[in-house]
């Protein structure tokens, strides 16, 4: 393939944050009409490279050329006007504005200076239809799930007339159907000669869509490769700098286990969120929940944790009838819930890693019983090491961590509590392959130790690998409860999700 002239070229890029060299002498180029994957572990510098390119941060060293001319954008808006359209890792739309306003913010259709609302709504609906989305475009964005918000951000980005499209982990909370939809759009744009930069920790997706990839490690460039010439194993080796032997160590299926019932939900339900369901989770059992987006997986989790009030039914924990009115009462019964929406429901951005880590434990103890500093240090050190949180500095503000590392801190927040039931909603979202295997092994280990886990993930392989039992949801109803035996495969699971019947 004779390479055409790159549309974008970055050379010798360096970026220093206080105490962290995020990028050091990185070269990167993007050819027109290609999908280029940017690969690397959590904290390798992918998002930072994108942010210095689009003017979120200044660069400390290096040069950027767009179509052969040197550029330095002062703001993302300037980058967008120069033809670089970006979806950042953290969805940064305005949740209180309507879907249509979000899509057109800053470029509203106008006549004589006045915004044409009707035209705007119509065009927004058209744009969304191209992604197979049928939404009420005048509803506030916050009324939709995180995945839909992510799709809206993508819809906005692909509609902008751009030469370069950047997608930083756009698929992290999407399911297979939406990913396929997104890929269709990406292929079409690619044929139009648009260069696409794509970041994802899902290797299968990378191999499906990308033509070429650039690998970063610890802020430095490892190399640029053609996707077709680099195997997955080689790629992982380049990303983490050693062979990943551990990944397959986990047994295919968890061993069966008998425990006393821990959580018994009887016709528990909430109007508009989830129809009454009956589900029992035993001690030491991992129960997976599978289903499409908006099928009610998160809603089950929130009811069991008391984040929402149940309208109907009853709940027993450890044999005792309970009425969970607040998360606080759930925590005091040693239930834990790691939300999928890390920015809105997890992080306290201005606090340090240490404070975020101990928050749930401190809340459980109450404010009159502070955790002694020595104990804090011990816990924080232990979990930073166990989850390989980087940079390993407890006093760093959590907002300065990379997305994957933030996720690990939130996970640790709940592990510290040593809960009886751990509810994990997309816990491996945005986490790199190495850390993902680490977390999966941790879940298996914890359940060996008697902890029950409710595991929600859009990745069916992951669900099957960990769960003893899988609950399948469809249209806000628990339609099936399947034992994880030889007959259950990702294919049969997909089928059950689609048909809503036991296969």
């Amino acid at each position: 393939m004779a390479a055409p002239a790159p549309i974008l070229r970055m050379s010798g890029i360096g970026k220093q944050f206080p105490g962290v060299k995020a990028l050091d002498g990185v070269d990167f180029r993007l050819l027109p009409g290609e999908v280029h994957a940017l690969m690397g572990e959590n904290g390798a510098g992918k998002s930072t490279l994108i942010k210095v390119l689009t003017g979120v941060y200044d660069i400390d060293a290096g040069e950027i050329e767009l179509e052969g001319r040197p550029v330095a954008f002062s703001s993302p808006l300037a980058a967008q006007q120069a033809g670089i359209s970006t979806v950042y890792q953290e969805v940064n739309l305005c949740a209180n504005l309507s879907v249509a306003e979000n899509i057109f913010i800053g470029r509203e259709p106008r006549r004589l200076g006045r915004i044409q609302w009707k035209a705007m709504r119509r065009r927004a609906a058209e744009i969304l239809a191209r992604l197979d989305l049928d939404l009420d475009v005048s509803a506030p964005l916050s009324s939709y799930s995180l995945a839909i918000q992510q799709m809206v951000a993508i819809a906005r980005a692909v509609d902008i007339d751009a030469k370069v499209l950047i997608l930083d982990e756009p698929t992290s909370s999407l399911d297979a159907g939406e990913v396929a939809q997104l890929f269709r759009v990406m292929r079409r744009l690619k044929e139009q000669g648009i260069a696409i930069l794509f970041v994802s920790h899902f290797l299968d997706q990378i191999y499906e869509i990308s033509d070429r990839m650039t690998v970063l490690r610890n802020g430095t460039l490892v190399g640029e490769y053609l996707t077709s010439e680099l195997s997955q194993v080689e790629l992982i080796g380049k990303m983490i700098g050693r062979e990943l032997a551990d990944l397959e160590k986990l047994e295919e299926r968890p061993p069966a286990r008998e425990g006393a019932p821990l959580v018994e939900a009887e016709q528990l339900g909430r109007t508009g969120a989830i129809q009454p369901f009956t589900l029992t989770i035993h001690e030491g059992e991992v129960v997976g929940l599978a289903g499409l987006l908006g099928s009610g997986r998160t809603e089950i989790a929130r009811l069991l944790f008391g984040a929402d009030h149940a309208g109907t039914g009853s709940l027993k924990i450890g044999g005792e009838q309970v009425n969970l009115r607040t998360p606080r009462s759930a925590v005091s019964r040693k239930l834990a819930f790691c939300s999928e929406n890390r920015r809105a429901e997890g992080l306290i951005p201005d606090l340090t890693v240490r404070e975020n880590l101990i928050l749930a434990l401190q809340a459980a103890r109450g404010w009159t019983r502070p955790i002694p500093r020595r104990k804090q240090d011990e816990l924080v050190e232990k979990y930073i090491a166990a989850l390989n949180i980087r940079p390993a500095n407890p006093d760093q503000l959590i907002k300065n961590l990379s997305g994957g590392n933030q996720q690990k801190v939130l996970l640790a927040r709940w592990l510290i509590l040593e809960p009886r039931l751990l509810i994990l909603d997309e816990p491996t979202r945005g986490i790199d392959v190495g850390a993902k295997a680490e977390i999966q092994r941790l879940v298996a280990e914890l359940s060996d130790g008697g902890m029950a886990v409710l595991f929600i993930s859009a990745e069916l392989e992951e669900v099957l690998r960990l769960s003893h039992k899988v609950g399948v949801l469809r249209d806000r109803r628990l339609v099936a409860e399947l034992d994880n035996d030889e007959r259950l495969t990702t294919d049969t699971l997909t089928e059950t999700i689609a048909s809503g019947a036991r296969s």
Partner: protein
């Protein structure tokens, strides 16, 4: 050196020192502290003494602002506390009875806590926006204070009561000692115990805090009640100093000065991180400014303008974005120059 420059309290401290230094030119012996009849005297002591009520109110305000709230009713609480205490004392058969004065003071403080908790209830229990919720008491509270004093200025003649705002103890003005105790207590509750972490967490992300098992409601109630208490103590100090209660004018506009002190001290109005020492500095800056206005003889009709001007300058110096714009212009990498010009063309 750059560590010092970056310290949160560096700029407030610089401003305070500059303001104090300015006074040197206008007042002889400005920095001199004397011992007279076993009491400490001096302009610096006066600044702290007269600033004591503001410091107290600002401390409570700091915690409220840290939860991303605001309390506009502190001025009214100041008036109510003073009014109630004076009413009770004026009704005593012996105004100098220590027990009677203690009872009156206790009652006023309990009422202040209740008023604060009422704010907390409106904010946390019902979910009214803090600015509206506390506006209710800000307006109604003045009425309440006048009701208590029957629309008159109630004067008392009680030496135990006078001690709070005008007396001395251990060579120091009693007000300074009260401030020191309240400050120490606040620091203990928030930094030694874990209240500070929970407050900052609720202020940083309320929903995430709730899901982490924090009772955001409890935290908010506590904080607003504490703010009421601080305002109540300040109210006693102010009314004790003049031995009277004026429901109309006591603590008028103190909420604005308090908010300003908090912000100058480096606690953002959006909530989250807070700094108690910053707030104390902020309150001292405002008090020093008031003193300065008198000592350099700014004509009375322009004092408000003068104050506004200084506050604007203070806020600008405080702002990192402003400092970057003004002082660091030329520190951008030279290589980026031509590119920056390019940028203009691109975005046009």
């Amino acid at each position: 050196m750059s560590r010092i420059l970056k310290h949160r309290l560096f700029w407030p401290l610089v401003i305070l020192v500059a303001l104090l230094a300015l006074n040197l030119f206008f007042t002889d012996n400005f920095f001199k502290i004397q011992m007279k009849e076993g009491h400490l005297y001096g302009s610096l002591i006066d600044i702290v003494r007269f600033g004591a009520p503001l410091i107290l109110v600002s401390l409570g305000m700091t915690l409220v602002i840290a939860t991303s709230g605001i309390d506009l009713s502190v001025g009214s609480v100041v008036a109510i506390a003073g009014a109630l205490a004076c009413l009770r004392i004026s009704g005593l058969s012996d105004q100098n009875s220590v027990g009677g004065v203690l009872g009156a003071v206790g009652l006023a403080l309990v009422l202040s806590v209740v008023l604060g908790a009422w704010n907390g209830f409106l904010v946390a229990g019902i979910g009214i926006q803090p600015i509206i919720a506390t506006l209710i008491l800000m307006v109604a509270g003045r009425g309440l204070a006048q009701l208590i004093t029957d629309g008159q200025i109630t004067t008392v003649n009680s030496s135990p009561y006078k001690l709070i705002g005008g007396g001395y103890w251990l060579t120091l003005p009693f007000g300074i000692i009260i401030v020191a105790v309240v400050l120490a207590l606040t620091a203990f509750l928030t930094r030694r115990l874990a209240l500070g972490l929970l407050i900052e967490s609720v202020g940083g992300n309320a929903e995430a805090s709730r899901l982490a098992g924090i009772s955001a409601r409890g935290v908010l109630m506590t904080v607003y009640a504490f703010c009421g208490l601080c305002a109540g103590i300040a109210g006693l100090m102010i009314s004790s100093n003049v031995s009277s209660a004026d429901g109309n004018n006591a603590g008028l506009w103190i909420e604005l000065d308090a908010i300003l002190a908090v912000v100058i001290g480096g606690t953002p109005l959006s909530g989250g991180r807070f700094s108690l020492s910053g707030t104390v500095l902020g309150a001292l800056i405002i008090q020093t400014l008031t003193t300065t206005i008198y000592s350099i003889g700014v004509p009375p009709e322009t004092t408000l303008l003068f104050k506004a001007l200084v506050v604007t300058i203070v806020c600008l110096i405080q702002s990192p974005a402003f400092r970057a714009k003004v002082f660091h212009r030329r520190r951008r990498p030279i290589a980026a120059r031509p590119a920056a010009e390019e940028k203009v063309r691109v975005s046009a």
